[in-house]
Amino acid sequence: MKLKVCWMYHDIMDLYGDKGNMMVLTKRCKDRGIDIEIDTCAIGEKKDLSKFHLMFLGGGADKEQHMLIDDLLARKNNIQKAMDSNTFIFLVCGGYQLFGQYYIDANNEKIEGLKFFDYYTESGDNGKRCIGNIAIQCNLDGEEFMAVGFENHGGQTRNVATPFGKVIAGYGNNFEDKIEGFYNGKVLGTYMHGPLFPKNPKIADFVIYKSLTKEYPDLKFSDLLPLDDSLENKAKNQMLKRLHAI
């Protein structure tokens, strides 16, 4: 088995240690004897995203988002093709925002999004930001479990019909709605840094499984060999306890 990943704009969208997600995918694949190949895609680079099993786009500061948006918009048809052919898409923070209608940044400048989904993002009142540890009850294709992370975003994302999870502690998409992220079976978007995967191995595995189904449609989530996650679970529970989420 082989998992082919395309890490978009890895050199500019790398805020808050999100590269850790790629480290986790690599180790968890290798430990199971699954080959993993992580390719990158920079501004101006030719790449057919539909050839990959997983596409990852992380977060960046406002300046970086302005920098890459033209390149990203030019790939809209190709990303649609990737989604249609079951390439799984994992988005963090800035990447998550750009898949919606638009994003209004801290200086009130509007960036048009890819408009794949109905959600949109506006800047917080008086520059207020959602910052801190967060715990959510996530729901991935019917599997419900707790997840932890760290959020740090000014953007307030609204009009999310299918969230990634319910906020137990922290903020989530915005100050009011008590929901976090976006998940529609093919695309997972979230504000959760930390990075997300190390303390949430089940989500990492879920992303591996969903991505592999592009090429191996009969694969079930339970087919992934179990790994020793005692350290991961201790890290997660340490934070869940602190947030009074367990």
Partner: protein, 437 residues
């Protein structure tokens, strides 16, 4: 109001000194009584501000000591109290009741976010900027916004900028300060310079046109020699440029004169070059700088050595990826077997977001020479996970209780390295000291 503010500051400082306490409370009180007190001071000597992400405390202390060694009278916030209230405390303590500050030089370490306030309140002669790295993003916001704040603050500045020529994010300040002069310091290409660098997370794009920055070489992180692909921006001509003789022996030269850096690592030599640039600008003889570098006490938690149960233990403070990467390099240079204690806290002063550990190359610890790693602190399991995913296969021990974690170190019959975040530093020192032979 001025008298009252100064008097109050002095009184509070005196009372605090009776109970052996320092801090910025006197300045807070004075600012409450008179918010413009700094503007009302009578200062006729040069004022030098030192700011930047890393090395500002060391650099500021070295500059102050360099002037003192040259027999000048210096007022400085040596304890690193670098916010508005701390700086006010320091200046009012030195001032007479009429507001005269008697000094030959005033040297102030200033937190980056306090630069706007300080620069409009005092007649600043020179602004020294060491570097800009990502540092505790949840407090300081994104680095770009921070640089923009400094740029706005120096728009009317007509003094002299003393800038690290090898940091494109620092050099761009000159574009913002149209009325200011600039002096540049740097280090020449050396044994540690590389043409590719995985550590660099800033300095990828030209601040003038947004084009790609091409590096001829990197010294560490994004510090190096660069030019824009569109040829409108490059490392400026330097006024003071050092050349490394030996990183290991901490030796470097400038203009045929040899210097010995007070601490290890190339980044320390950059701090020294900032000092030499200041000395050059104020026509202070270089021998005073050389003497200062030789005799300067190393502040707590910077390669601080202990003898712990008969073995050498080196303690380091880490507060951001760039600083941490430099610590990793020093550990990597040590060819002997070693045991490492990592203490990761996430209190406000440490930064509540610990994701920076994924921007740090803990991979440098991943080899058979590192026989045992002990993780402690409020986020000990996060630390252990980072090592697991870095591929560390030797023994990882997680011990939530710090005292037990330090006690576990003493079983090592190797050199020991202790690495601690801000709030963990003093507790670790105390525990190491308690068992020092």
């Amino acid at each position: 109001m001025k008298y009252l503010a100064i008097l109050l500051n002095k009184l509070a400082s005196f009372l605090l000194s009776l109970v052996h306490r320092g801090g910025s409370l006197p300045g807070q009180l004075a600012l409450k009584v008179d918010a413009n007190i700094l503007k009302e001071l009578k200062i006729s000597c040069p004022i030098i501000l030192v700011t930047g992400t890393n090395g500002k405390t060391s650099t500021s202390n070295l500059i102050a000591s360099m002037f003192e060694t040259a027999h000048k009278q210096v007022v400085t916030n040596r304890k690193g109290d670098n916010m508005r209230a701390g700086i006010t405390t320091c200046l009012l303590k030195a001032a007479s009741l009429s507001g005269v500050v008697p000094a030959d030089y005033i040297v102030l370490e200033v937190d980056e976010l306090n630069i706007p306030y300080i620069i409009k309140s005092l007649p600043v002669t020179a602004l020294v900027v060491t570097n800009f790295f990502r540092d505790q993003l949840d407090r300081a916001r994104e680095m770009e916004q921070l640089i923009q704040k400094v740029e706005e603050a120096i728009h009317d500045f007509d003094g002299t900028l003393i800038l690290n020529a090898n940091d494109p994010n620092v050099v761009r300040l000159k574009d913002a300060a149209v009325q200011a002069d600039a002096r540049y310091f740097a280090m020449e290409r050396c044994e540690e310079s590389k043409t590719v660098n995985k550590e660099a997370s800033e300095g990828k794009f030209c601040p003038r046109c947004g084009g790609k920055l091409i590096y001829d070489f990197y010294q560490y992180s994004h510090i190096g020699e660069y030019h824009c692909e569109n040829k409108d921006y490059e490392t400026p001509a330097t006024d003071v440029i050092g050349s490394v003789k030996s990183i290991r022996d901490r030796q470097f030269t400038w203009k045929d004169m040899e210097f010995h850096a007070p601490q290890g690592g190339l980044y320390t030599m950059y701090n020294c070059m900032a000092v030499l640039c200041v000395a050059d600008f104020f026509h202070i003889d270089m021998q005073y700088a050389a003497k200062t570098f030789e005799t300067m006490d190393v502040p707590d938690g910077r390669n601080e050595e202990f003898n712990f149960h008969g073995q050498k233990c080196v303690l380091n403070l880490v507060k951001n990826p760039t600083g941490a990467n430099e610590v990793m390099k020093v550990i990597e240079e040590d060819q002997d077997d070693k045991t490492v204690l990592l203490v990761l806290n996430d209190h406000a002063q440490d930064g509540t977001d610990v994701s920076w550990i994924y921007d740090t190359f803990f991979e440098k610890l991943v080899n058979e020479k590192t026989v045992h790693i002990i993780c402690s602190g409020t986020r000990c399991y996060d630390m252990a996970l980072r090592l697991k995913y870095a591929g560390y296969k030797e023994r990882i021990e997680v011990e939530e209780n710090l005292e037990k974690a330090v006690a576990s170190l003493k079983n090592a019959d190797t050199t020991m390295y202790a690495i601690a975040t801000y709030t963990a530093l003093q507790p670790v020192r105390k525990l190491l000291r308690r068992n020092e032979k």
